[in-house]
Symmetry: D2
Subunit: 395 residues, 4 copies
């Protein structure tokens, strides 16, 4: 089963066409273990059907590359823009997000046919002389599809992990559980630090506007928080102590009846954890995953420490390993100084979400190879936890 | 395509085993035109995934026949009772109805395997000496599966008819549209009429308790209301005149933005109707379908007439043809005199729904052959209209 | 404290003007024990602020009598129709029911001023020569105000009884608790019974259309069910036994966390009951009150009996005492044969509610003297229980 | 009518007791124009009944000063803690916020009695020797009551301004409308700025942790945005152009049907604005008020500028006048470096709200004299707009 080895095989110097093809087939490889039925369902609004991800990433290329740059290109199916547009208001009406799981058609086969068609047209297009703007858009499309690859995997986990039969996704899925030793405090001196993307490589617009920030002295943990801390937090009644929580978090805990991270099941007094390989005992040495910002905050409070800001994280990140869990930071998702939205539909990519969300830094076991970087800004609403989300302490 | 011919082929004198087998395969034949994805989705709570119907009707036989009567029978899969129990509280926990569409597993293939297994065990069982009580339960199971066959078809129609691609179910589906001529008034003299099931044949418990009712003189239409009346009602602003509606119906119209029957689409000033063969112009001669009780009442008000009671319908039914549309009556669904629920789980079949619903009489194009009879009492909440529901006028 | 004696003082032969004046002042007498703040709040949608009842019953006379029949009458305040119209769609826009408790103005004093103004104009009008139609409308207005007097008292009970301070309404409120002895079965022979209003006296349109019904033999209890039965039902786990409930009722019990009648509080293992005089121990001999139709049905199931139909109740009512509790019947609220709505706004009075509700017969301690009669049809949705609702068994 | 003159009369050097008494009577003076009914209602969850504010600010003193520091003090009424606790989880159960408007009792008179009792006990207490900690708590109580004075006025505006009669609060309310001329850009050089409270005076814990921030060069408007800009924004279709809005803001606009600021009414093509003096034409020269963060952001987008951060605002504030409107900033409400919650119930004052809210700076016409300062951090959820909220542009 070759899904996750593959990520190391594509050299950075690969051509755009090579990287496109590799990205396109990686999405399909991720779906290889699925049964047709798994492609269709949407158990909660935040989780999209795998079929939809496959179609939507394809539509993105059709809409932003083939339609504007390939003379005479006619769309594969005129209704697909309606079905597979995610949220681009500039591009017309769309299926409401909560209804994606109501659509049995287009069929899975139909979507694969759509993918092949668009991939082929793109490859043909890239064989010719390609304007720089189009190259940039293909690049955006690749990174866009990589983002959806992570969602694909976390959505699959949600679909299977909330099925009463708890079926495994694969015997050799991506969830390795490194045994983490004891974390140490890394001391970072205060001063001026440069924040934001630098250099030639690809980045999203929300990373641009490199600027200096002034930080005070701080310490940051060398390792993320492990399940051991969560087990102790639970044992100490952490989910029942309002003083550890934000008011909003406390409401969430009570309204939703939360008493453990997502995918944790108590069976005969033992905590089990649903992984892509099926149910397994919670490993105290493994990094904690699937917690909301509220839980990250409460856990840090309980430990007597705090979350780092996204600037502290970026300033310190060379000094520690990261990439196994997205790490909640104490920073709200806001524009960097001088941020301006791109014109047109791509301007809707990031900017319009810059309110009411929190920044996560790092990457996770589900992030495609080469998709993250030290300046990458991931963001989610504070109650969400179906991504591989954890935390790192600071003080 | 043999689905709907089949219904005429089974003689009444067929053995129980023959009828069981025929019923079991008819459910599967109904699903033959589906793609795997169509089996899975649940666009609204009332509509169940076809896969679920196939599994649930199977579980019913396993639970009520195989488990109690076949010594040493072990269930096909221990979690299936949880997945496929519909509402029998006596039989333990179950998947909440609204969540049926979140389940990608068991797969369609898995469900067919389950069906084959249970059908085979039932056939083996029926080859031996079968206690009378078990025969009765097989009989109930057959009628139960027939009820679900109708739901299967109406749920499939909803799934496909609410897909933005509006795919057809089949080129030769069951929706024929007889051209109805002008209805005539049939005069029925007042007096005593016997109501309720008589004789040896199968019926549900809600038809029992045959009793006399006293009716006044009345007239009832020889034909159901056609689309022509609905077109006129719409043209006359019927959906915007509160005086024609129940208060509850008027709230429903406004809250849901109702302005035509279900499956009606206005395209370029013309009314189109989604049928199992795809979108077609509304045929003014065809019997009206897919209306709620509220709409039936408002339409009758607008015509200056009324709905018949279920007793009037039953008393008069020999004088007119019926079977194309379920006909809303003016009667609430209540127990007949002397009605007692059966003991045990089967007691949950009908009795516990006898509040807040209205009775429909007759049958529809989607009702399996032999499933209806003059005393049959169908019932739905007044806002529902995804069945083939129409009305017949009285005065 | 003269509120409830007063009801016996008005002889049937009193003039219309006398009865009008008496009715108007009775509404005000009912509010005498209130503090200004009590007039304003609306803890749930079904409960209206007392101030609103006082204004609405006044608006009714202004709208249906003064405006059409008094030449040159100009309305007291042009916005009051908007504020005090309840549901008459024919009469224009209105405050949405759920928002009545948001209105601090018009003030209580303003409403009393409005009442005085309208009452005076009505009295002047009745001194002159009054067309028969206007007399009828004054009559309707009196009965309308009497209906609201009952709601006034039950809404006041809800407002005070859901306040954490549990204040008493009055030391000598209307809730007497007769000690009921053991009920006996009254045998009623089957046959033809006349149902519906007869004679000259006032009745609502839903009682008209006197007609014969055919009833079987039945027995009906001489007394309503007492608190003792409810105490036993609770002790026997009645609220946790799904087999006793309608499916809809069982959902209601679980969704709302119902475990006793409304106003019952368990304190130190004893059941207390909030009355208009304050909290008191539940008296096992007193007739049960404040239960929903679902609870009435479940309690009857548990006793092994059933609710009478409204026809059985009417046929038998001379043989037993009634009037202390509204008695849930097994009948849905539907039109009598030949029922037609009145033209105009008054046509909205009853007819548009004839769906999804159940009939109650009798009267209650809160019903104004002379307001009920054997053919009176009260109706509520099956989950409501803030009226003085109980039940009588049949078999 | 002396309410708003009073604010200039209390010299800074007044004793604690003087200031306490002055604060207590100011709350009552604010309510002087109310009718009893106005004290009771709660039209939306965010708006509390005036009666509740009067009781809650009193309870705060009783709970945090009298109970711990006055030997033998017994509470005025044992149920008041339940009724008047706002959100202090450490202090036990409380009335759910949404239900405050359901409580007709304690009566307004009862609450005034409660106020007098507690104020007297406090004054007696302050005559003796008072521990420093108690002084601090009285100080907190004064500032707490001042915060509620602003809410009292904005809640009263909401209660009256959403009444269909649109009654005025007072002929000489606090809403003056200065004629603003043309704004100018104030240039602020980048560099290090000190942020946070300094010195001896009172501040809330969220202002502490004075620290340096590094800002780039920026310009900030000398005046807040006026109604003229909003009128132009509306005329230009600003409420219908999704590209100007956050995704969340756009959902809000569509879900709530927003098309103008709160309290704006279009009458015969003219925009009217409900003020505390009643309905008045929108004055184009007056500072814009009653907008959400979403609207502030969209308006700034439409102008081609942006909101200042709270740090830019604080760094620049000496160069411009402020105090007429709370000004939305681009900053999320987050803790300053080193922020720790106070121990005990007071720790719930600010810290637990530091998620999902945005910071406003300045003060408004409704802010009590002496309650604001350049480091004051006000905060609200982005959709709220019943405060006097406006914006100032930056670039
Ligand atoms: Fe996307
Ligand atoms: Fe079933
Ligand atoms: Fe009324
Ligand atoms: Fe407070």
């Amino acid at each position: 089963f070759p899904i996750f080895q593959e990520k190391h095989e594509m050299p950075v110097t690969a051509t755009l066409a090579d990287r496109l093809l590799s990205t396109r087939s990686h999405s399909e490889a991720l779906c290889q273990p699925l049964q047709t039925e798994d492609y269709v369902v949407q158990p909660i609004e935040d989780v999209s059907p795998p079929k939809w991800h496959l179609g939507h990433t394809t539509w993105f290329f059709e809409e932003f590359v083939l339609k504007p740059f390939v003379p005479g290109y006619s769309v594969f199916h005129e209704d697909y823009a309606f079905v597979f547009n995610s949220y681009y208001e500039s591009l017309g009406e769309r299926v409401i997000r909560a209804n994606r799981g109501n659509l049995s058609r287009p069929s899975v086969q139909g979507v694969y046919k759509y993918r092949r068609h668009v991939t082929e047209k793109l490859m043909e297009f890239l064989e010719g002389e390609v304007p720089a703007e189009a190259c940039d858009l293909v690049e955006v499309g690749i990174h866009h599809e990589q983002q959806h690859q992570e969602l694909l995997l976390t959505d699959i986990k949600y679909i299977l992990g909330n099925n009463p039969l708890l079926p495994a996704y694969s015997d050799c899925g991506p969830e390795e559980f490194p045994k983490l030793g004891a974390a140490e405090w890394i001391t970072v001196p205060g001063g001026h630090y440069d924040i934001g993307h630098r250099g030639e490589g690809f980045c999203f617009d929300n990373e641009l506007g490199r600027h200096q920030v002034l930080l005070g002295d701080f310490e940051i943990a060398s390792l993320p928080v492990t399940n051991r801390d969560m087990l102790d937090f639970i044992a100490d009644g952490g989910y029942r102590r309002f003083d550890l929580w934000h008011a909003e978090g406390w409401d969430w805990v009570n309204r939703e009846g939360i008493r453990a991270p997502l995918y944790w099941h108590e069976r005969d007094g033992q905590w089990q954890y649903y992984t892509l390989k099926g149910l397994q005992p919670v490993d105290p040495e493994a990094p904690l995953a699937h917690i909301s910002f509220y839980e990250a905050y409460a856990l840090a409070e309980w430990k007597g420490f705090r979350l780092p800001t996204e600037f502290e994280w970026e300033a310190a990140q060379e000094a520690f390993g990261w990439g196994n869990r997205w790490e909640w930071t104490g920073s709200a998702y806001l524009p960097y100084p001088g941020y301006r939205k791109a014109p047109g539909a791509l301007g809707e990519y990031n900017g319009k979400f810059m309110v009411s969300q929190h920044v996560l830094r790092g990457a996770s076991v589900a992030t495609p190879h080469g998709h993250s970087r030290p300046t990458y800004r991931n963001f989610f609403h504070p109650h969400l936890r179906w991504q591989y989300t954890g935390l790192r302490l600071a003080r």
